[in-house]
């Protein structure tokens, strides 16, 4: 319905209730408006206070008033204390500006109850463009408003709940992180204490065999310490860079121990393994490197025990390959399988599902390890 552009002769609207109610009776157009279920009124802005000059039955049903109570009155009686002031201002502006307007406004019935009114106001002018009336229709949209309110309230409640839950989770994470740091701190300190105990004990040992045993034990503990230090230095404690570990190990075992006559060859791709594999891999590499240092190089006439030691790490698809090699005496007369070091290496290999092989490198020994390492584990140099 496009009421806005209505250009009825002014007289048509004079067939209204307060004027000549009977005159409109034969007019099907007026009859339709009287009978429609849509609440409608017409006001006369040319009279003081823009009073209602026509109201259909639907309007009376909606508002609860009798016709004689509304005709001649300003629509103001529909407003009440909770009516939005800005909606009222919009209506005022539309009337004074002779503009049409669509607005949702809280109105009051005669009995004081309220309803949401989707109000539509439109000015009606005559042929000369002079303002004659305002036409207004009212639609009770209380149900829609209620569900709008419910949705807004639900949304607010939901957002609040999400915020609360987020805060809880953040606090829990914070507590977990603190705990992790605390545990990490203790583990590191304890590893340091264990090393200290072994070191101090070996200093007082007079027996050379015992000294050697303790020093082998210290090396193993220190390999674990290095794993732990490296693991918790990185941002992601679930990943472990074996190549970095190998570098630390070699620098620790060679450069620092003063065995400068042994030259290391490192060929290390950055390789990341899951943290749970870090310890067995590190222990295995430690055993192989210390074995080469201890057993491969025989004393020369000048008293030195020089030679080359090599560590190579690569990851062809889905596998981690580690090679520890030396150019020493080889393992032909190794007294092998019963010794603890060898058993440890083989057991760790089994744990890691690794294939391990000792090859004659002529001269020296090349130990080749190959184990599955998920294809998703990409090297990471950070």
């Amino acid at each position: 319905m496009d009421w806005k552009r209505t250009r009825e002769p002014a007289g048509a609207w004079h067939m209204t209730d307060d004027l000549h109610a009977e005159q409109g009776k034969g007019d099907p157009f007026a009859a339709a408006i009287r009978a429609t279920r849509m609440s409608m009124i017409i006001t006369d802005p040319r009279r003081p206070d823009n009073p209602i000059v026509f109201a259909n039955d639907a309007f009376l049903r909606l508002t609860g008033y009798e016709r004689h109570e509304v005709i001649g009155k300003s629509c103001r009686f529909l407003q009440g204390p909770k009516t939005d002031k800005s909606a009222i201002a919009q209506i005022r502006d539309a009337i004074s500006g002779e503009a049409d307007l669509s607005v949702d406004i809280l109105n009051y019935r005669k009995d004081g109850s309220t309803f949401w009114n989707a109000l539509y106001i439109s000015p009606v002018s005559n042929d000369k463009g002079e303002l004659q009336f305002f036409f207004a229709s009212q639609l009770d949209v209380s149900d829609r408003k209620r569900s709008e309110h419910r949705i807004t309230a639900d949304k607010d409640r939901f957002e609040k709940a999400v915020k609360e839950r987020t805060a809880e989770l953040e606090a829990a994470l914070e507590a977990q992180t603190t705990l992790l740091h605390e545990v990490d701190h203790r583990v590191k300190n304890n590893l340091q204490m264990i090393s200290s105990l072994i070191l101090m004990q070996s200093r007082t040992a007079s027996d050379d065999n015992l000294k050697r045993s303790l020093s082998t034990m210290l090396e193993r503990i220190e390999a674990l310490s290095t794993v732990h230090r490296r693991l918790y230095q990185s941002k992601d404690v679930s990943k472990f860079d074996v190549s970095d570990f190998a570098r630390d190990l070699i620098s620790d075992l060679l450069t620092a121990s003063g065995r400068s006559e042994i030259s290391p060859t490192l060929d290390l791709e950055p390789i990341v393994i899951p943290a749970e594999k870090a310890t067995p891999v590190a222990l295995m590499v430690n055993e192989l490197v210390t074995n080469a240092l201890k057993h491969a190089f025989k004393e020369k006439p000048d008293g030195t025990r020089s030679g080359r030691i090599g560590i190579k790490m690569s990851q062809p698809d889905g596998h981690l390959n580690i090679e520890v090699s030396d150019d020493g005496v080889g393992m032909a007369d190794a007294n092998g399988d019963a010794s603890f070091g060898m058993r440890l290496i083989k057991s760790l290999a089994r744990q890691l599902r690794a294939d391990i092989e000792w090859r004659d490198a002529g001269p020296g020994t090349r130990v080749v390890i190959s184990m599955p390492n998920g294809p998703q584990q990409k090297g990471n140099q950070s």
């Binding site: 590191k188 300190n189 340091q192 204490m193 290095t226 620098s251 450069t255």
Partner: protein, 148 residues
Amino acid sequence: MIGPLKVLIVEDEALLAMELESLVEDAGHSVVGWATSLAEAKDMVDSTRADIAFVDIHLTDGPTGVDVAEYIGDRKNSMVVFMTANPKRIPDHFAGAIGVIAKPYTMNGFTSALRYLQEGVRRPPPTSERPAGFTLSPAFETVWAPAT
């Protein structure tokens, strides 16, 4: 030969202090004192002369190792190296310290750190390789290990 170092140990764990003392002496240096708290460390700093202090962050009276470093730094009578299992506790400016030896360190790791520090204190910058587990503070990084 460059001169040996006089070392102050600030460490609340007796066993670790004992071990450090042995390692320091094995390397030909001497230990001038052992403190376990901020107060003890202050007394010792005021009454002895050390070339370098190894300072744990967590002492008997709490995380006061940084305060020890600041106290030493104010008096400028010794250099400081932190030794801690929790390097994240060290402030970004390192309270003037040279760097940090992360625990758990290895025997060789500590010994080579000593050699490196001896060079750095006596004849800076150090020439030997920086040991694994030793991190320089940003300030010393620019002086001792400028990017080439």
